[in-house]
């Protein structure tokens, strides 16, 4: 086994692959028009804002922002009734499966927040609740991670994906029952898995704590939820596949593959298990949560302001570079560890290469929003989505820097990494889900949100809590890392230096949890108002405007 030769071969292979894709994409996609970006708009719809979460006043103000910056919109034509009917049918077809996934996601969000908050308190209050095994720090922390990673985030994102797909493909959802079945299996797996962790059944790997006998249900459930897309693609009414479909499609294939390979019993061993662990741990973020969230941004952001993505080609470049580079970054979690050095180097290189898709994405969303930043004031959806997109840029660039050996030496093994993880999973993924749910839910239930003020309260509580969380924990982590690197200082100094910052983290976490309670209460209110629970059959859906 010659590592240098292997590395060279992989390098050449990836370069060849990249060029092959660029060549294949050139055909028709790099023209100046980039008509693909208009796929998500009906004829005459560009220049019209869609924002179901806004009150009628907000919606008017939002439309004014778009009118001011887009002269074309003054010559707007009417959208044909036929196109509106197609969209209404598409929304109706996905309503129940999407609602089910959202409802589960909200429940898991509350469970996950509670587990996270208590874990955080225990770090500076270590004698809290120590008489019960399942309430001990190590178990609650694993429960927090798994609830968020397999409950809240995937169900929220899959719900949004299933709700967007019929709109993106202009085809009613096919196989909605498979989604329901998949969601039931997934939830059953999660309940069993969390119960297992609580009583001490744990597979011992981060992100893979749930043992394979139970975790297999995630792979099966994920595949069932993905199948409708495979049915719909051949029957789609659009010629072009919008960039969101790419991200959704790839993610739905990537996740079951990742999970199955990671959980094959008896195959992995020793240090290879550790490299596999981080191949999975990082790819479930990079190849599942990230692409699904980006798919949401690429749909909701243009839709709300009524303006197509500015540089569609840039979005395609972003997709393939993400697919190429992100898959190999995981070993930066093992820098300095007992694994082959070439693997660590490879991961550092690919981590830095991630700057390409991130900058492509950020530049694109900035260019798209240019002239429309006033819309942030009037659209609750856009506020959450935009905040999420900005956090994606920050967390990704921060991640690339953290992979560099010099910076990694300070941040590795510290709370800084935890702060970084929350910047991604919360600042980016969760905020995008919030925004998406605010947009989709009124369409699903055919009812406006009952209390606009709750949306604003939710936003400011989580943003304030999140800011406190990130700032305090990042500072605490950096100080901890500096003490750990200094051999002249006692280890206990590294604990003492973090304690005030850990208390700050708990405060931030409490504010975030409060925000989630607002959100959950609002979802309950809109459900009650819609009569979903009392009247099983609905016939109408609001027109898109």
């Amino acid at each position: 086994m010659n590592p240098t030769g292997l590395l060279l071969a992989t390098f050449i292979l990836s370069i060849v692959g990249l060029f092959a894709f660029i060549w294949s994409l050139r055909k028709g996609l790099f023209d100046a028009e980039s008509s693909g970006a208009r796929t998500i708009f009906s004829a005459g719809e560009i220049g019209r804002t869609e924002e179901p979460a806004a009150s009628s006043q907000q919606h008017q103000a939002l439309q004014q922002v778009t009118d001011r910056s887009d002269a074309r919109s003054s010559r707007r034509q009417e959208i044909s009734a036929a196109e509106l009917a197609v969209r209404a049918a598409a929304d109706r077809s996905s309503a129940f499966p999407a609602y089910l996934l959202f409802a589960c996601a909200v429940v898991w969000l509350i469970v996950g927040s509670a587990a996270g908050l208590v874990s955080s308190l225990k770090l500076h209050w270590p004698d809290l609740l120590t008489d019960t095994a399942w309430l001990s720090f190590g178990r609650l922390r694993a429960i927090h991670l798994n609830t968020v990673a397999y409950g809240w985030a995937p169900m929220g994102l899959l719900g949004l994906a299933m709700w967007m797909l019929p709109r993106l493909l202009k085809t009613p959802l096919l196989g909605g029952r498979l989604i329901i079945l998949g969601a039931v299996i997934w939830n059953a797996g999660l309940i069993a898995g969390l119960g297992g962790i609580a009583v001490g059944i744990n597979a011992g790997m981060e992100w893979l704590e749930i043992p394979w006998q139970i975790g297999g249900m995630f792979a099966v459930g994920g595949m069932l939820i993905g199948l409708p897309m495979a049915f719909m693609l051949p029957k789609r009414k659009v010629h072009h596949l919008y960039v969101s479909v790419w991200y959704i499609g790839a993610a739905l294939f990537w996740f079951p593959t990742l999970y199955l390979v990671a959980k094959i019993p008896g195959l992995h061993f020793g240090m290879e298990m550790a490299t596999m662990n981080w191949w999975f741990g990082h790819n479930v973020l990079g190849l599942f949560f990230t692409p699904l969230s980006i798919a949401c941004v690429y749909y909701f952001l243009p839709k709300v302001i009524g303006r197509p993505v500015q540089s569609y080609n840039l979005s395609l470049l972003g997709f393939w570079t993400l697919a190429f580079f992100y898959g190999q970054v995981g070993a930066h979690h093992l820098i300095g560890g007992p694994i082959p050095e070439w693997l660590i180097t490879l991961s550092i290189v690919q981590s830095v290469m991630m700057i390409i898709p991130v900058v492509a994405f950020s530049l694109n969303q900035h260019l798209t929003l240019q002239g429309h930043f006033g819309a942030l004031k009037h659209s609750p959806t856009l506020r959450f989505i935009f905040f999420g997109a900005v956090m994606y840029t920050i967390t990704s660039l921060q991640g690339s820097m953290e992979a560099l050996r010099s910076l990694n030496a300070v941040t590795h093994f510290t709370h800084f990494t935890v702060a970084h993880a929350h910047l991604g999973m919360y600042g980016f993924v969760s905020m995008v889900i919030f925004g998406g749910v605010y947009f989709a839910m009124p369409r699903i239930l055919d009812t406006p949100w009952p209390k606009q003020k709750l949306i604003a309260l939710h936003f400011w509580l989580v943003v304030a809590g999140f800011a406190v969380y990130i700032v305090t924990l990042s500072i605490g982590g950096l100080l901890q890392g500096l003490v750990l690197l200094d051999p002249a200082r006692q280890f206990m100094d590294s604990v003492a230096v973090t304690l005030p910052w850990l208390q700050g983290r708990s405060l931030g976490g409490a504010l975030m949890t409060l925000g989630h309670l607002c959100f959950a209460a609002h979802v309950l209110l809109i459900t009650l108002r819609s009569g979903l629970l009392t009247q099983p059959v609905r016939t109408t859906v609001h027109s898109p405007a």
């Binding site: 590592p3 692959g17 001490g200 390979v261 020793g270 300095g336 206990m492």
Partner: protein, 233 residues
Amino acid sequence: MENELKLISGAMVTLSLATAAMVVVPFMQLKDVPAPEALAPYTSEQLRGRQVYIANGCIACHTQQPSITGAGRADAQRGWGRASVAADYHYDQPPLLGTMRTGPDLFNIGARQPSADWHLGHLFQPRAYVPGSNMPAYRFMFEIKDPATVGKGERVVTLPPGTVAYDKVVVAKPEALDLVAYLQGMNHTYPVLTLEQAENLTRTAAPAGADGAGKDAPNTEKAGADNAAATKP
């Protein structure tokens, strides 16, 4: 893009590349690495203790990977031992490397702290031994009893004065005893070769040293120094 097949096959090709780099090649490179001679397989008590370690998420705060590079630069001076190598984890399924040092590295905790009494008492109330520690107390692994009700064969924990009420004693449950057996067994102070050193050795000395007798010689001095550092309390 109009072609969904191209999309999905492209996506799967990129994932295969990542899988080859991070799963398949390490598999091939590491599958024949033998266990160090001095590393004993776990006893059944230690294996049960390892399960207790996993079940209670100790990995969330403790690493098991001293290093000489990156974030591990100060490890040897703290007495945490030489840098670990892949072979050290031969009997670990899965390895418990950890990514967080809220608490110290435990790869050589058995060498640093061999006393079972210390470990038991520390698990019951960490702050009685390490002031300022934020390690959770593992009270649920112990029973607080009247001295008269202690059964034969039950392990009474010796505690610093003031840790429990004066008329009570603390008895360790089996899970605590197993966990401590695992912690006491964590001792990787024997000398080893890194993968690179072993490969260089076989490449340069293959014809003469085919019996492998001289394999340990070149690194003994350095390993010995690390060894001494590792056992420093």
